[in-house]
Amino acid sequence: MQGNIACAEGALAAGCSFFGGYPITPSTEVAEHMARILPKKGGTFIQMEDELASISSIIGASWAGARSMTATSGPGFSLMMENIGYAVMTETPIVIVNIQRGGPSTGQPTMGAQGDMMQCRFGSHGDYSTIALVPSTVQEMFDLTAKAFNLADRFRCPVFLMSDEIIGHMREKVTIPEEVDIIRRRPLKEGKLPFEPEDDMIPGFPEFGKGYRVHVTGLTHDERGYPEATNCELHSELVTRLVNKIESKRHEIADYDIINPQAEIVFITYGPPGRAVRQLMHDYSDLEIGHLNLRIVWPFPEKVLKEFPNASKFIVPELNMGQMAREIQRHTSIEVESLPKIGGEMHTPDELFRAMGGDS
């Protein structure tokens, strides 16, 4: 099964019933598969007029109670920034799939990249926090897409599946479980105001049509949902909560693999480069190489760096010019070596070997 198809299947298994999208290489197979399957399952597929509209439509569908998703790539992702902020501010659960390609601009439509990792974290204006998952196998395309819906519903925020052309277009065997865990959003409790947080800082969801009579706005709002755009204290409280409801759980939701934690040289990866590291470890099994592979990159679980007590160097191969390497360096006094690669091809195990100071 192709990665993009596995992504769509993962969404369907998670109960996604609404897809709004716009064709863009290399993500289009996700939309095509949803267009084929969703109507048969009683769901809705709609091809919108652009990505601004695609993300708007899935936010609307989410308020009407649907698990909703869109899929895109760089240029479309840029257009979505506006309403990513809206989804953050209105605490709307949505899943956004970005099958990354080479940028800036139209760049390399058919080549893989990881150049949008910072954009998915900081791309919309204002302060906020998000959740981003990164698969490195076709199986993970399925698993993490399904998981993204649970995270979106739990945290009431946009959740990103930050994949890339390499995994999106690759075919591998996928085992589809008979059912996947579906943990739906918690409804608003009786007696609570529509945006009144519970103990976990997350308000229950006042779905449209259920008698809550909720007003939803992207303006700074009070717990009733009413605009209060010049209230300094309220704004500070609201945005701080929007950030902290996610950041405070970053270690709890962290999802990663650790191999050889005693090693001195440690590779940190997410997505395809992790597979080059695994191959390197396989090819040079006598070398002590540590590996941290992240499946959730945002929020960044910095405590995991402490799992490598002997580390003298973290090497971070990425299909960009060092976006996460900078984030990692922020959290550690250990040397972080960025190993950027752009152009569309993966790092080879030999390139990683040379980065370790090896002579191949």
Partner: protein, 266 residues
């Protein structure tokens, strides 16, 4: 339910609209139409974009979505298609709908998606302090057309018709009865119904264009509105509408196949 008052969100009052603003009139006409339709408060969703007009849903006690600039129709498309049994009404303005949201507008018309869209056309960007919009008449003064607007005006009602909407009408905040009736007819018709309501903005438009009072703006709308049939007769006689005048009436009413229609409505 006896009164439109039941549809207002009273704990949100007072509203932010300026003295003399026409938006309240249009909201009243809309709620009157909703009452006549017998719609249920808990099954009606009001959606809007950004601008003065788009603040309207905040004063109505249904579930409502106040979205981003220009995108109301795209959000509404998601709401409606996820739950077609909802009655969906969009409030928008001339800038929101025809400038930043122009593409969404023509595509929502083309899809003929079953919702009612009410555009409060005040010929200006009011919320941001009076900049020119695609509907600012030639010669009119705004903060971004200090020497008079020079670009032609978008005819929104005709644009909706040409783009495929099942219903399109234009009235003004002066023509309260006609406007209410047009909104109701739009709500009855399956498919995309567009009602353009010309509204007075004495604060940002009138003040700069010798229409300083609410009365003078209402008189302006009364005196410059030409019934569509009359305009057609004039056209047949080879007479053109003089500059600054505009047509009002029902531009199209048809029953083309529409999106998001619940089966038993058909």
């Amino acid at each position: 339910m006896k009164s439109v008052e039941d549809w207002y969100r009273h704990d949100r009052m007072p509203h932010i609209f300026c003295t003399g603003c026409g938006n309240g009139t249009v909201i009243n006409c809309t709620l009157e139409a909703v009452m006549q339709m017998g719609w249920d408060i808990d099954n009606t969703i009001f959606i809007s974009g950004i601008g003065c007009s788009s603040r309207s849903p905040g004063y109505i006690t249904t579930d409502s979505l106040h979205t981003t600039h220009g995108r109301a129709l795209a959000f509404a498309t998601g709401v409606k298609l996820a739950k077609p049994e909802f009655d969906v009404v969009v409030f928008t303005g001339d800038g929101d709908l025809s400038a930043i949201g122009g593409n969404h507008f023509i595509h929502a018309c083309r899809r003929n998606i079953n919702m009612t869209v009410i555009c409060m056309n005040n010929m200006i960007y009011g919320m941001t302090g009076g900049q020119g919009s695609p509907c600012t008449p030639a010669g009119a003064i705004s903060t971004t057309t200090p020497y008079g607007a020079t670009e032609p005006v978008f005819d929104l009602a005709r644009l909706a018709e040409a783009s495929g909407a099942n219903y399109s009408a234009r009235w003004t905040a002066y023509h309260v009865k006609e406007l209410t009736k047009a909104i109701k007819v739009g709500m009855e018709i399956p498919g995309f119904s567009f009602i353009e309501a010309m509204t007075q903005c004495p604060t940002s438009y009138g003040r700069r264009n010798k229409l300083r009072t609410t009365t003078s703006m209402l008189e302006y709308m009364r005196d410059n509105a030409v019934l569509l049939n009359k305009a057609k007769r004039m056209e047949a006689e080879g007479r053109e509408l003089s500059p600054g005048r505009f047509t009002v009436g029902e531009f199209v009413k048809r029953f083309r196949p529409a999106l998001g229609v619940v089966k038993d409505e058909e």
